[in-house]
């Protein structure tokens, strides 16, 4: 039974989601929520289990259908994947709890869609097969489309139209890339591709390069890399709070895939194909960060600000990806986890704030005073500190790690200014935001209750953020090992010849 | 070539010919209603002959009792009139004009107006 733990993070949400679609369940909100909570808690437990297992025993592989790689689909749970699995399931738990307070009643199938979305994400992290990666990308995308329009409304429709169409074009490009890669490598297993990358010769080399670069566009789109980021601000700002919180991980999937594909398959060991994407990635990462900062400064509402901060964090992460080394990758990984949690937190809080400020919603204008100024203010304060990268929350560790890694790699001159300036911009804008939302008010507060489940959801994220600091020593050591694994490549599952 | 094969060849030629005639009719005939007759050639004689050829061919090659093409014919024979019927109905609804030179029968107006716009 234990060997199956690798595939469970995919099957569990699928099972839960499928059960929730059964009419008897889907019409029973209470049952659905309980099922969802149980599944989410189980997902967290599973992820922890898998993480410990992988950390002790090394990378775990699971051949679906028992077909030996590279012929069947292989799931690969290495440290990188398991850490992200844990992140996803923690996020799921928070979001599920938060949404159970009533957001899930504003339209049907919220809970199952949540599960499917997580299934897609977990699958994308676990799979060791590039076409299977595409499939899971689509699972998570279609679920995200459906979740984005949850609750209805003009803004959501308009935002999702852009989001969906751009991503559909992205999926088409993904398939073009897969066609090229299969047409040159003759295989789909990532480890196999990596092993073959150095062997590709002559003209095939250039074709393979086309495939690799196309994948850069595809993953860049998911990651919201400039100039492919246009879908993000609107989508995140329009999404219902819990969905936006869950979306915090969406861009990270792009980053993850870049690591998997461009740092591993087309990484150091790829011979003539080594690091093909870097010359392109590097300027685009820089631009992403720079224009992210501009967008942050220009933000006029809390959710837009949070969305633009996502772009900034993506820019920072891309800079780490663009300089593949153990230290940068490890730093990026830590920062990835942190920024996901912090962004999710701010989106959830923004959701609560929106509900209490009447027509001002979350815009930075004078509005109705909040019903729970202290609670929300405190939460916002914490989230803001985390986002800016100020102590005592994990942001500063991530930032310091990245700065220090950039220094080790000798690229500090390029990376430091935008990184530090982005923090400053976040500081400026978040302090402005906080003082507008919490302190400039007019009229009387309207009593609004905050559901304990909403607080529980936020609490999960808070605990996770605190744990990231308390256990930072272990975590950074872990990310370091994960980075080493990643850059060393996926050697364990090398096929025994055709 | 055996007689049997000659027979198959003839069927194929007839099938192709009727298909082509149907297509020519589609191009050449003056109005929609007359063109509506063309595909009947293609469906009945054209496809029929080709399907028959295929069946005979497979019998010839001893691939067992394979007369699956009959099912296709069955399908086509059931559906083709309905398709034509629906198209004609739509055309009348849309008042697609009849060929000027053709004989506008006295019932035409009545037929057209049986479903007056409300």
């Amino acid at each position: 039974m234990f060997q199956h733990v690798v595939i469970l993070p995919i099957l569990l949400p699928l099972l839960a989601g499928a059960l929730m679609v059964i009419p008897a369940v889907s019409r029973n909100m209470v049952l659905q929520r309980r099922l969802g909570t149980v599944a989410s808690v189980l997902a967290v437990v599973l992820a922890v289990w898998l993480l410990v297992l992988v950390d002790h025993n090394g990378t775990q592989a699971y051949a679906v259908g028992e077909w030996k790689p590279p012929f069947g689909i292989l799931l690969v749970a290495d440290r990188l994947a398991t850490l992200l699995l844990l992140l996803t399931s923690v996020l799921l738990l928070a979001v599920q709890l938060f949404a159970s307070a009533g957001e899930d009643e504003r339209g049907r199938f919220f809970q199952p869609l949540l599960m499917f979305q997580v299934m897609g994400i977990q699958g994308a992290f676990l799979t060791g097969d590039i076409f299977n990666l595409f499939v899971f990308f689509e699972v998570l995308l279609i679920a995200s489309y459906a979740l984005l329009i949850h609750g209805g409304g003009k803004a959501k429709t308009a935002a999702s139209l852009h989001y969906v169409i751009l991503n559909l074009a992205g999926s088409a490009l993904f398939l073009f890339a897969l066609g090229i890669l299969y047409g040159t490598f003759g295989t789909l297993n990532m480890a196999d591709m990596q092993a073959n990358a150095a062997l590709i010769q002559n003209d095939d080399l250039y074709l393979a390069k086309v495939g690799a670069l196309l994948l850069l566009v595809v993953f860049g789109l998911k990651a919201a890399m400039l100039p492919l980021h246009f879908w993000l601000p609107k989508a995140y700002a329009a999404a219902p709070a819990p969905v936006a919180a869950l979306f915090a991980i969406m861009t990270k999937i792009g980053i993850y895939s870049l690591w998997r594909v461009h740092s591993a398959i087309f990484g150091e060991h790829a011979g003539a194909l080594a690091n093909v994407a870097l010359p392109w990635l590097w300027p685009m990462a820089w631009l992403t960060l720079a224009l992210g900062v501009v967008a942050v400064l220009a933000s006029q509402s809390l959710r837009a600000l949070a969305a633009n901060l996502v772009i900034v964090s993506v820019g920072s992460l891309l800079l780490m990806v663009a300089n593949p080394a153990q230290s940068t990758t490890a730093a990026g990984l830590y920062y990835l986890v942190h920024s996901t949690l912090a962004t999710a937190l701010i989106f959830l809080i923004a959701g609560l704030i929106m509900g209490q400020r009447g027509k001002s919603e979350d815009r930075f204008v004078r509005g109705r005073p909040l019903a729970h100024p202290r609670l929300l203010g405190g939460l916002f304060f914490i989230a803001a500190l985390a986002l800016i990268g100020m102590p005592p929350f994990s942001g500063f560790i991530g930032k310091a790690l990245m700065l220090s890694a950039a220094l080790d790699e000798g690229v500090a001159g390029w990376i430091w200014p935008p990184l530090l300036l982005s923090s400053l911009a976040a500081l400026l804008v978040l302090s402005r935001a906080g003082s507008s939302i919490f302190w400039r008010s007019r009229g009387r507060a309207v009593p609004v209750t905050i559901d304990t489940r909403q607080l529980a959801g936020i609490g999960v994220l808070l605990v996770a953020l605190v744990l990231m600091v308390v256990l930072a020593g272990w975590l950074t050591a872990f990310t370091d090992r994960a980075a080493a694994d990643l850059l060393a490549g996926m050697q364990l599952v090398l096929p025994e010849g055709r | 070539m055996t007689l049997y094969e000659w027979f198959i060849a003839a069927l194929l030629v007839i099938g192709g010919l009727f298909t082509l005639i149907g297509a020519l009719g589609m191009v050449k005939l003056p109005d929609l209603y007359t063109r509506l007759h063309a595909p009947t050639k293609a469906t009945t004689m054209g496809i029929g002959c080709i399907l028959l050829a295929s069946m005979l061919m497979r019998l010839d090659r001893n691939e067992g009792f394979g007369i699956q093409e009959l099912v296709i014919s069955l399908f086509l024979f059931i559906t083709a009139p309905v398709s034509a019927y629906m198209i004609a109905k739509a055309a009348m609804h849309l008042r697609v004009p009849l060929q000027p030179g053709s004989d506008p029968h006295r019932l035409l107006e009545k037929a057209r107006d049986q479903q007056p716009p409300q």
Partner: protein, 125 residues
């Protein structure tokens, strides 16, 4: 024959791309559909072209590469699901936003042109 195939793929791709760059939802979705045809053919092509070698064991002596076919099949299904979704989304956008422009509002130039038309019509009647 390869050239004809590639020509077709190229045409489909170009047409898809052109339509996807349009401003109304319907042509964009048409473009997506064309592009997904192109993608499917392209992905299929990664297994190279073979005639009369369907990968059904026992029907031929040589078989074509079956894997791209399986991939294309998956891609077709997923593409179908996506097309369906985006099509309904376009409807929803028309319902919610009142027009069928991808941005949810008509660009200023077209708005004024439309107003012009309306005025002309009013003058005529």
């Amino acid at each position: 024959m390869e050239f004809a195939y590639a020509l077709g793929v190229g045409f489909l791709t170009g047409a898809g791309v052109f339509l996807m760059l349009r401003g109304r939802t319907f042509p964009v979705i048409l473009g997506l559909t064309l592009l997904s045809y192109a993608v499917n053919l392209f992905l299929f092509a990664s297994g190279r072209l073979t005639i009369n070698a369907a990968p059904i064991l026992g029907t031929a002596s040589e078989y074509t590469d079956p894997l791209p076919q399986a991939l294309v099949l998956t891609a077709i299904v997923i593409g179908f699901a996506m097309t369906a979704f985006v099509l309904i989304l376009a409807m929803r956008a028309r319902a919610d936003l009142g027009n069928d422009h991808v941005d949810g509002h008509l660009p200023p130039a077209q708005l004024s042109a439309r107003a012009e038309q309306r005025r002309e019509r009013r003058e005529h009647s």
